[in-house]
């Protein structure tokens, strides 16, 4: 079943099959949960473009965008 809110079991299984990763049936849900959390963290980082730039500019550090 693919009822999990977040990254789906189907996507995880597809990726694992493609890359030769064996995931046990009783561990797939934990992996989906961990990936969902990880993607949330990555999404927060993706939003940091501006803040990182502003952080550097605020301290008058020269950076190339």
């Amino acid at each position: 079943m693919d009822s999990h809110v977040g990254i789906s079991e189907q996507i995880v299984r597809g990726y694992c099959d493609l890359h030769g990763i064996t995931v046990r049936a009783d561990e797939i849900q934990d992996l989906c949960d961990a990936l969902t959390d990880a993607i949330a963290d990555l999404e927060l980082l993706r939003q940091c473009d501006a803040s990182a730039w502003e952080m550097a500019v605020a301290f008058r550090v020269e950076r190339t965008p």
Binding site: I21, T22, L31, A38, D41, R46, M55, F59, R63
Partner: protein
């Protein structure tokens, strides 16, 4: 009286060294006393994976023979030191806390071990650690217990090294720190831990987690003990890998006063994300430093949680790449927790990894600017004291937060920047659990960081408290 029973396990390294120099204690007696204590307490605390009694006694006898010939190798001569089990020791198994490497016996010592031995230190054993230094204890080795409350975690990944020193099962130890792994357990166990400047201590012969974030550093019961170990290991290595600049032998300078030293206090220091007891203890520590003549300066520092996520992204992708082959070949030799973590790392897109590296440059640049205005910055190590083993959520002033990344928010930034960072005990919670503050400074100015920590300890007595461990 058992051999070495009169050797006080709570002596500082310099006190022990003085007794050995004066002939009041012999290295063999000292090792016997430590091994005896370890045999009693290790079943309770699980600090050591391997106790090398035979090797330590041989080393002690050799050092004792040198003393009878009038040769003293310095302040570590005859001092038993413990090593995290990811630091190679010739002829002594080095498991990295992993089943994959359970039977691995290195043929050579790590560069830091060579340096310690050349200064007379005795390697008494290999300490327990997170599996591959990454996030959790492997069930084969179990979890190290906090000597102040055995129902509580000492966290990781150098938990065994910190707990052993806190419990008097070694006079000092080495750990490794990729995102705070020396500083968290040192803080939670009430001992001192230094993550030195990146590049000031060789990592040759130390099992990598994420090489551009990994650091090797000392743990001790006092700042002076940490300084003595740091002085021994912060030398240029013959392989050319370490690039020591200004971090030379300056142990004597740690007792210089801190009159006029500028201490940065982040404006975000005392917010609701730090437990009120921790805030109080750190506030009192800052008052002590001000009374010693330091000048307090408000500073703005990069966002802590962003820094945490940056480091997590870099190291997760790196570790996943390093173990990509092995985890496919031997999945059952990894714990379920680590296997999941490694697979998550494989899902991190390259663009996010590159983005994290660019954010890291932003963090580094921001701190470079901060450090133009101050000599050190003082901040928490952890927002709360040691938590119950297995806790996944923490209560901070009534707010329930996940352990990760909240618990780790104050440390990984200095792995990203490479700056030195020292954890110093500064009190106890009402439950009797240690609290610590963190001092960071300019890269290759580790001695200034140690000087501030030493000034604090010279004015306070927290470091003289020791846990009453319930023996079996």
């Amino acid at each position: 009286m058992a051999a070495g029973e009169h050797i006080d396990p709570w002596l500082s390294i310099s006190e022990l060294s003085s007794r050995i120099r004066a002939g009041e204690a012999s290295p063999v007696e000292v090792v016997k006393a430590i091994v005896e204590r370890t045999n009693t307490l290790n079943p309770v605390l699980n600090c050591y994976i391997t106790v090398d009694e035979v090797g330590a006694l041989e080393q002690a006898q050799y050092l004792e023979d040198l003393l009878t010939r009038g040769i003293n190798l310095g302040p570590l001569h005859g001092v038993p030191i413990a090593l995290k089990d990811n630091i190679d020791t010739a002829g002594v198994r080095t498991t990295v806390g992993s089943r994959v490497f359970a039977d691995r016996v290195p043929v050579a010592d790590a560069a830091v071990v060579e340096l310690l031995k050349s200064r007379g230190a005795i390697v008494v054993g290999k300490t327990n650690m997170y599996e591959l230094a990454n996030g959790s204890w492997h069930p084969d080795y179990g979890e190290t217990r906090n000597p102040w409350d055995q129902t509580r975690s000492c966290y990781g990944s150098s938990g065994g090294s910190a707990s052993a020193v806190a419990a008097g099962m070694a006079y000092g130890s080495l750990g490794t720190d990729t995102g705070g792994s020396i500083r968290y357990p040192a803080a939670l166990c009430g001992v001192v831990g230094l993550k030195p400047t990146y590049g000031s201590v060789s990592r040759v012969g130390v099992f990598p987690l994420s090489p551009d974030l990994d650091h090797v550093g000392p743990i001790g019961r006092t700042v002076a003990d940490v300084a003595l170990q740091f002085a021994a290991i912060s030398r240029p290595s013959t392989d050319g890998e370490a690039h020591v600049e200004a971090t030379q032998y300056q142990v004597d300078t740690i007792d210089d006063d801190i009159n006029g030293v500028r201490i940065g206090i982040p404006r975000t220091q005392n917010d609701e994300t730090v437990d009120s007891e921790v805030q109080g203890a750190i506030g009192a520590a800052i008052d002590v430093l001000e009374q010693q003549g330091a000048e307090l300066v408000d500073v703005d520092v990069p966002d802590y949680l962003t820094s945490c996520r940056v480091v997590w992204t870099i190291f997760s992708a790196t570790v996943a790449q390093d173990h990509r082959k092995l985890v496919r070949e031997r999945p059952n030799d990894y714990s379920k927790t680590l296997r999941t973590s490694l697979l998550v790392g494989e899902f991190i897109p390259a663009v996010d990894y590159v983005h994290a590296q660019r954010l890291r440059e932003g963090i580094r640049a921001a701190y470079d600017e901060v450090m133009k205005t101050v000599d050190v910055v003082v901040l928490p190590v952890t927002p709360v004291p040691a938590q119950k083993i297995g806790a996944e959520m923490i209560n901070i002033n009534g707010r329930i937060e996940p352990v990760w990344p909240v618990f780790e928010r104050y440390c990984p930034q200095f792995n990203a920047t490479g700056m030195p960072a020292l954890s110093v005990p500064c009190g106890f919670s009402q439950q009797g659990l240690p609290i610590a503050f963190q001092v960071t400074g300019r890269s290759f100015d580790d001695w200034m960081v140690l000087r501030v920590g030493s000034a604090y300890q010279n004015a306070t007595r927290w470091h003289n408290s020791h846990p009453a461990i319930v023996e079996p």
